[in-house]
C-alpha cells in the first residue's frame, strides 16, 4: 500500500487482507500513536498502522494532500491550514499538559505565571530571585515551530520571547536528558515525558498533574490531534474510534496524557 491509496473511499472494511494505515506528523504524538497502534493490532491483526514522524505541520499537510491516511498534530490546527484545505477533520485524541520542570538540585517548588514568563524570557536569571538558593538559571527549550513550544508560548509567554541563550533541543526526550544532567536548569516538557529524572514545578500553586488539569487549576494544556481528509471511514475510522474509546483512553492516561472525556 502506498500512503495515498488508503483514502477513506477505498479502505474497505470487508476485506480480510491486511489494511495499512499511514499515520504521519508530530513527534510528540508519535510515541503515543505507536503504543495505540500496537494495542490495536492485538484486537484487529488485519490492520497495520505505520507511524512516521515529520512534525505537526507535515502531519496536517500530509492529511490535506492525502499522502497519509491520518495526520498527527500536537497543537491546534491553524486557520491558515483550514483555509488551505477546508475538508480536513480534526479529532482530538488527548490533551497534553505542558509541565515546567527543573533539575533535581533546584530548591524552588513553584513559580507564578509571571515569574515563569520572566525566567524563560531571560529577565530573571538567578534562582535567588524566585526564592531559591542563589545560582544561575539555565534554560532549555524546544526549537522554534515545535508544537510544544508554540503551545507554551501561547499559554505562558504572551508577547515575550523565549531567551536566545536557551539550550535548544529538537525533542522532548533530549530536553529531559539535558535537564536531568544540567544543574540549575529549567525547561518545559510534555506531560508524557515526566518522570523522576526531573522535578515538576507548580505554576500559581498548581502542580502539573492530571487532577489539577481536570480541576481547571493547571493552566498550560494543549490538544493532541489527529487529522483526516474528510470524515474517516474504514480502518481509519475504526482505529480512531478505538483511540477515543475506553481502551484507547486508558493507554492515553497511562502514558501521562489527559483523556479527552
Amino acid at each position: 500500500g502506498e500512503p495515498g491509496d488508503g483514502t477513506p473511499d477505498d479502505a474497505s472494511a470487508e476485506s480480510v487482507e491486511t489494511v495499512e494505515l499511514s499515520v504521519v506528523g508530530s513527534t510528540t504524538v508519535q510515541p503515543l500513536a505507536e503504543l495505540l497502534s500496537e494495542a490495536y493490532e492485538a484486537i484487529d491483526p488485519n490492520v497495520l498502522v505505520t507511524v512516521s514522524g515529520g512534525g505537526s505541520s507535515v502531519g496536517v499537510k500530509s492529511a490535506s494532500e492525502q499522502t497519509a491516511d491520518i495526520g498527527m498534530a500536537s497543537r491546534e490546527i491553524k486557520d491558515s491550514e483550514i483555509q488551505e484545505c477546508p475538508e480536513i477533520v480534526v479529532h482530538t485524541i488527548a490533551r497534553d499538559g505542558i509541565a515546567i520542570v527543573s533539575s533535581l538540585d533546584v530548591d524552588v517548588d513553584g513559580v507564578t505565571m509571571e515569574e515563569a514568563r520572566k525566567i524563560f524570557a531571560g529577565e530573571i536569571t538567578d534562582w535567588g530571585e524566585v526564592g531559591g538558593t542563589p545560582g544561575m538559571i539555565t534554560i532549555a527549550a524546544r526549537e522554534e515551530g515545535s508544537g510544544t513550544r508554540s503551545a507554551f508560548e501561547d499559554l505562558v509567554m504572551d508577547d515575550a520571547f523565549i531567551s536566545e541563550t536557551a539550550i535548544l533541543q529538537p525533542s522532548n526526550g533530549a530536553i529531559r536528558t539535558t535537564i536531568a544532567s544540567t544543574p540549575g536548569s529549567i525547561a518545559f516538557i510534555s506531560f508524557g515525558y515526566l518522570d523522576d529524572s526531573t522535578k515538576p514545578m507548580a505554576i500559581d500553586g498548581a502542580l502539573p498533574t492530571s487532577g489539577n488539569v481536570n480541576a481547571g487549576t493547571y493552566p498550560v494544556v494543549r490538544p493532541l490531534n489527529m487529522v483526516t481528509y474528510g470524515e474517516p471511514t474504514g480502518a481509519a475510522a475504526e482505529w480512531l474510534e478505538f483511540i477515543i474509546g475506553e481502551d484507547g483512553q486508558a493507554i492515553v492516561a497511562a502514558e501521562g496524557y489527559l483523556p479527552v472525556n
Binding site: 505541520s57 541563550t165 544540567t182
Partner: protein, 299 residues
C-alpha cells in the same frame, strides 16, 4: 555483416548510456541547487539575502530570520575542530608515512579507517554521554557542557581521518628522489622530513586541511546532539577570550535539521535558504581545496 553491425550497435548504445550516467552527477547537482533555491526563493524575496546574512536574530515566530549567529557558530566550531584535529591528523600522517615501523602502521592505519567509518550519530551519542559531562566540569558561569568545545572535540575526531588520509597521501607522493637526495647529503631523517618532505607536500597538506574544513562545515547530526543549538552569537563566558568555546551555538546544518520538522511557510523557506548558503559556502571551500591541489600538482 550482421555480427559487425550488431557489435557496432551495442558499442554506440553503451557509449550513449555511459555518457548519460556520467552526466547524471551534473544533473543531480543542478537539481539539488534548483530545488533548494526554488524553496528558498520566498525567504530571499521576503527577507532579503543581505538581511539574512547580517542579522543575528533568528526568531521565526516574529519573522526574524538572521543567520549570522549560525554562520559564526559553524565557523567557530570548525575553527575549534581544526585547532584540535589538524595537529593530530598531520602528526599521524607524517608518522604513518615516514616514521612508523610496518607493524605499528598496521595498527594505526586500520584504527583511522575505523574512526572514519563510525556513524556520526554514534559520535553524537558518545559526545552526549562522555564529552559533554567532561566539559561540564570546567568551572565557568553558565557552562552546561553543551557548546562549542564539546562540538569541536567531537568534530576534531570526525575530521581526523579525512585530513590524515589525504595528507598521508600527499607526503607519500613526494618523490623518493628528494628523500634519497637529502639523506645522501648527510641529513638526518628528521631534517629530511622537515626541510624537504613536508615543504614538498605542503600544497597537498593544505588542501587536506581545507577539505577537512568542508567536511566539518557539513556535519549535522553529531553537532545537534552536543552543541546546545542556542541561536546566539557566541561570546566568551569569562574574561578569558578562549572561554568563547564554552558558549553554546548553532551551526548552519543544525539549524536545518533542528527546525525542518515543524517549519511552515517563510520559516521553512528560510531553512532552505540556510541550505543554499551552506551549499555555496562549502562549494567555495571545496573548490579552493581543489585549486590548491591542482596548483600543488602543477609545481
Amino acid at each position: 555483416m550482421t555480427p559487425g553491425i550488431r557489435r557496432t550497435g551495442i558499442e554506440k548504445t553503451m557509449k550513449m548510456v555511459l555518457m548519460i550516467s556520467a552526466l547524471a552527477s551534473v544533473l543531480i547537482v543542478l537539481l539539488i541547487f534548483l530545488f533548494t533555491a526554488k524553496e528558498a526563493m520566498p525567504a530571499f524575496r521576503e527577507i532579503g539575502i543581505g538581511k539574512m546574512l547580517s542579522d543575528t536574530t533568528w526568531r521565526p515566530g516574529n519573522n526574524q530570520f538572521g543567520i549570522l549567529a549560525m554562520i559564526a557558530g559553524s565557523g567557530l566550531v570548525t575553527l575549534g575542530a581544526v585547532f584540535i584535529g589538524v595537529p593530530l591528523a598531520l602528526g599521524t600522517a607524517v608518522f604513518l608515512s615516514e616514521i612508523a615501523p610496518l607493524w605499528v602502521a598496521k595498527i594505526v592505519r586500520p584504527s583511522i579507517e575505523l574512526l572514519a567509518g563510525i556513524p556520526s550519530v554514534v559520535y553524537g551519542l558518545f559526545g552526549m554521554v562522555v564529552i559533554v559531562p567532561w566539559v561540564r566540569m570546567i568551572p565557568a558561569p553558565g557552562n552546561t557542557g553543551y557548546g562549542l568545545l564539546s562540538a569541536s572535540i567531537v568534530l576534531a575526531v570526525m575530521v581526523l581521518p579525512t585530513i590524515a588520509n589525504i595528507s598521508e597521501f600527499a607526503v607519500r607522493s613526494v618523490p623518493r628522489g628528494y628523500k634519497e637526495g637529502s639523506m645522501a647529503l648527510g641529513a638526518t631523517k628528521w631534517e629530511t622530513i622537515s626541510r624537504v618532505i613536508i615543504p614538498a607536500a605542503k600544497p597537498g597538506i593544505i588542501s587536506a586541511v581545507v577539505l577537512g574544513l568542508g567536511r566539518a562545515l557539513g556535519e549535522t547530526i553529531a553537532m545537534i546532539m552536543v552543541i546546545g543549538n542556542s541561536v546566539i552569537l557566541p561570546t566568551p563566558v569569562t574574561s578569558n577570550p578562549l572561554s568563547i568555546f564554552l558558549s553554546r551555538a548553532r551551526t548552519l546544518t543544525g539549524n536545518i535539521a533542528v527546525e525542518i520538522s515543524y517549519a511552515t511557510g517563510v520559516h521553512e523557506s528560510a531553512l532552505f535558504a540556510t541550505g543554499v548558503i551552506l551549499f555555496i559556502l562549502i562549494m567555495l571551500v571545496n573548490s579552493s581545496a581543489r585549486f590548491l591541489m591542482r596548483k600543488g600538482a602543477r609545481s
